[in-house]
């Protein structure tokens, strides 16, 4: 994939016919590098970015530690721990809070389920929404094996990145 196309892909600027073309073709094996190059350039961080974890979250090599960082710069700590435990949380657990964002009768019963909104404490971007019963443990959605990925891709980890 060309760098310009990758930029448009990341920005959601490709039309459906363009996307369909990409989906219908064999995958480009260098996609990870192309996308990472675009992201690294945009973020402009000195520390190596190892992986995009979510729309706004990245795993970054910071010294000997791998940390989760929002693109606003806020750091959530060690990537082996759930970044949500460093987030700000807002729970919609009563009728009025659910009614703020859903039409009448078209939301869960707050006794049975609540919406947990996890915000970045730095920029208050909404990073994840959990729909779970009250008392349900917070979900650790994704624990990537970064070394394994770079091994699969045959790519060296950025020089300071070996644990």
């Amino acid at each position: 994939m060309e760098r310009r196309t990758a930029k448009d892909l990341i920005d959601g600027q490709l039309s459906w016919p363009q996307l369909k073309e990409i989906i219908s073709h064999p995958k480009d094996p260098d996609r990870f590098q192309v996308v990472m190059d675009v992201l690294r350039e945009r973020l402009g961080w000195q520390e190596p970015v190892l992986l995009p974890l979510a729309e706004h979250l990245y795993i970054v090599q910071k010294g000997t530690q791998r940390v989760v960082r929002c693109d606003c710069g806020y750091e959530f700590g060690d990537c082996r721990e759930n970044w949500k435990t460093k987030a700000r949380v807002f729970v919609r657990n009563d009728e009025s809070l659910l009614r703020e964002i859903y039409p009448q009768m078209m939301h869960c019963d707050p006794q049975w389920m609540e919406l947990r909104e996890f915000y970045c404490p730095g920029c208050f971007t909404l990073l994840e929404v959990e729909a779970v019963p009250p008392g349900y443990p917070v979900l650790f959605d994704f624990q990537p094996d970064i070394d394994g990925l770079y091994e699969w891709l045959g790519l060296p980890l950025p020089s300071s990145a070996s644990e």
């Binding site: 219908s24 460093k86 949380v89 859903y102 039409p103 009448q104 869960c108 049975w112 019963p133 990925l149």
Partner: protein, 738 residues
């Protein structure tokens, strides 16, 4: 092996003098020992002549697709014909799928389980498997989702050997359960699920036996449609059998045998390659819940209970490419219609992986063989009890597998393949079920509408979800024509179908929108009708990266409406429902009922009653405040989002002049509104530790409602691992029970 040979007393029908049981045991042993299908090391046929190999696959695949298209035009019920609610597949003698047609592909693997069940139970010995035989099955505990899906399996012989099975599945409008309909919600045991056929031989010498025809047509409420669909499945299976015979005549029996094995192994390898190509090693988790408020509503004493289905999903991908899916922690089965056997869960993995990872590969049981899975024995997703009801496992299965889409999406996103992200899908349910009796001739009409197969798809990470056009179990489905549904459901024509506002899950990329319909009873003695969706007191799954779950369902109907008076006076009637406006009540009058529960138990309705239902949207992806403001205005102009949701959730302010239909963006007000929402987020949110303390307190002080506590107790009882995780997260003492 010895038992099989001793009891057969005649020449085995398997390959090289083996019985089918011996073939299956050998196949399983080779897979166990080598990790490869039939122990195949090299794809020799592919390597030797790539073009011949691909042409061979195209021939079989083409024959299956052609069989499907032809069979549904030979003879089929409206449900099968209107949206193609059928599927065909070719299997090896051991029951592994080689190639499949388009259609309800979720059943390709369940038919495989039924065939394997026949082999394991030594059908070769008794009742025997002969050329011209026709077998049928719909037993969920053996290899099916629910009784309404009926399989026809025809053995394909070449000389004296069984070379494969040609099989087809259709979905029945009625299966003779304790209420009319195809997804009954009132059964509590097998004995209310309707007509069961447990891998029975229903025909010999290419002829369906009269005793089976008479029995089956007396077992269901719509014998005509049963008959049409049985002919459809049988015709399709014979078209496939004939195509296999032509294939063998052209390519040779040796090539056919080697090819059908090699192509399954290739399917396995394609899946393994896709995992390495598009995903990454790691641990992925997602969870979905389905709340069932049956304490007041259920018909039978044992079923009167409020409960929640807990569907946790974890996928671990190893550096060696091993793909392991587990639902450790799943809650219990029960006296309800939503229990699920292991086969449908396997089928659901298969159908979703076929759509998300191997849609351009060799779609067959190779994908199934390429991964490991664990569905806890004795849980709702591997109930292991044939006496339970399996009428509508879809109610739990469909929501549960949104977890798979979210898990895979995180990997696809991280690898840069953002166009492949799909953060879930809507629940395919809610249209009316049941049936009625016409006043003028006493004729029965079934209500089994498959416009449910057109719900919203979840958003991707680069574009919105598909509007009103997706069903996880039939990737090519659509709404079908209203006029054709009315031919089937003759006593309840449509008043309206339209886009349902605010059903698309909110996000930077929104989920596909849902829609709504109004139906009017006309010309009936009466009708027994019900509607079912799995999301009412609970959301179905969630969005991803800050996207929200789609809106839930609700119930609405009017008894004794004034619709006829309005129509005769040329006055307007509602075309849908806005719960906040009161228009439905004002225009229709009558006795109006609104309920937040998604399940509506069967009730008797009469002429002039009007029923409303909502087809689900899909979940969203990304922070809704990041959706380009003009796109939100476009959504408003298309009826996707209301003014209130645009302003309160997406932070977009738009205006329109009096009498104008089109909204125009107010950029300044939008900037201010979005800043205001961010300020509110900062003001109202808590540090995680405070949130943790508050939640823990609710658990410790027993403030959870019974269905939540019951769900937690069930999962903790079935899984020590899950119980330990739960207690560890909340730092609760050993032995704590919620």
């Amino acid at each position: 092996m010895d038992v099989a040979k001793r009891d057969v007393g005649r020449t085995p029908i398997g390959w090289d003098g083996k019985t089918l049981l011996e073939m299956m045991e050998e196949s399983e042993r080779l897979f166990q020992e080598t990790g490869r299908y039939q122990g195949i090391d090299r794809l020799e046929l592919k390597e030797e002549d790539h073009f011949r190999y691909e042409r061979a696959f195209a021939k079989l695949r083409g024959a299956l697709v052609a069989a499907r298209e032809t069979a549904l035009h030979i003879s089929a019920s409206p449900i099968v014909r209107n949206i193609g609610e059928l599927c065909f597949a070719l299997y090896t003698p051991e029951g592994d799928s080689v190639a499949v047609s388009t259609g309800i592909m979720v059943h390709v693997h369940t038919m495989s389980e039924a065939l394997k069940w026949m082999v394991r139970n030594n059908y070769e010995r008794d009742p025997g498997i002969r050329p011209g035989d026709i077998f049928t099955s719909n037993d969920p505990d053996v290899g099916n989702v629910h009784t309404a899906d009926v399989h026809t399996m025809v053995p394909v012989f070449w000389e004296d050997e069984l070379v494969g099975w040609a099989s087809g599945v259709t979905h029945q409008v009625d299966i003779g359960a304790n209420t009319p309909g195809h997804d009954p919600i009132t059964p509590t045991s097998r004995f209310e699920d309707g007509f069961h056929l447990t891998c029975e031989r229903i025909g010999e010498d290419e002829h369906i036996r009269q005793d089976h025809r008479l029995r089956s047509q007396r077992a269901v409420r719509s014998p005509l449609y049963w008959d049409l669909d049985e002919k459809c499945r049988t015709a399709g299976a014979y078209l496939i059998r004939d195509a296999v015979h032509r294939f063998i005549a052209e390519e040779g029996i040796d090539y056919y045998k080697r090819f059908t094995r090699e192509v399954v192994e290739e399917g396995r390898r394609i899946f393994m390659a896709r995992v390495r190509e598009r995903l990454l090693p790691g641990r992925y988790r997602a969870v979905t819940f389905v709340g069932i408020p049956f304490k007041e509503e259920a018909w039978q004493p044992r079923a009167r209970k409020d409960f929640i289905c807990h569907a946790p999903m974890e996928i671990v991908i190893g550096r060696d490419g091993d793909f392991f899916l587990t639902m450790e922690g799943a809650s219990e089965p029960g006296f309800h219609a939503f229990n699920c056997a292991e086969g449908p869960m396997q089928g659901a993995i298969w159908v979703l992986l076929s759509q998300m990872l191997v849609y351009d590969g060799k779609v067959n049981d190779g994908s199934y063989l390429a991964l490991r899975h664990y569905f806890p024995p004795g849980s709702w997703c591997n109930a292991l009890d044939p006496q339970l009801s399996y009428s509508t496992p879809w109610a739990f299965l469909i929501p549960a597998f949104t977890g798979l889409t979210r898990c895979l999406s995180r990997a696809l996103f991280a690898r840069g393949y953002r166009e492949e992200v799909v953060c879930g899908y809507g629940f395919t349910g809610d249209a009316i079920q049941g049936g009625g009796t016409l006043a003028f001739n006493g004729e029965y009409w079934p209500a089994a509408n498959f416009e449910i197969s057109a719900v919203g798809l979840g958003a991707s990470a680069v574009h919105d979800g598909l509007d009103w056009g997706y069903a996880m179990w039939n990737p090519e489905s659509d709404q079908g024509d209203a006029e054709l549904w009315e031919l089937l459901e003759i006593g309840i024509p449509y008043l309206a179908r339209r886009v349902k506002e605010d059903t698309a899950g909110y996000g930077k990329y929104r989920g596909g929108s849902g829609w709504e319909a109004l139906r009017l009873l006309v010309g009936n003695r009466d009708a027994e009708l019900y509607m079912a969706r799995a999301d009412g007191v609970t959301f179905m799954g969630s969005g991803i990266f800050g996207g929200y779950p789609q809106a839930t369902a609700y119930r609405l109907w009017s008894r004794g409406s004034e619709i006829m008076d309005r129509v005769s006076k040329g006055q307007p009637y509602p075309l849908g429902d806005d719960p906040d406006s009161g228009e439905f009540e004002e225009l229709l009058r009558g006795e109006v009922t609104r309920r937040t529960t998604a399940m509506m138990m069967p009730e008797i309705f009469h002429d002039r009653d009007v029923l409303h239902y909502v087809l689900s949207g899909g979940p969203g992806c990304g922070d809704p405040l990041e959706r380009p403001a003009q796109r939100v205005v476009d959504d408003m102009n298309e009826g996707i989002f209301s003014e209130r949701i645009a302003a309160d959730v997406l932070g977009v302010v738009a205006s329109r002049a009096e009498g104008q239909e089109k909204w125009t963006l107010d950029e300044e007000a939008t900037d201010a509104r979005r800043q205001e929402i961010r300020r509110l987020r900062a003001e109202r949110s808590l540090p995680f530790d405070d949130f943790w303390q508050q939640e823990r307190q609710r658990i410790e002080q027993g403030q959870l409602v019974e269905p939540v506590r019951g769900m937690l107790r069930e999962s903790m009882g079935l899984s020590q691992t899950w119980a330990q995780e739960f207690r560890a997260f909340w730092k609760l003492p050993e032995g704590f029970q919620p």
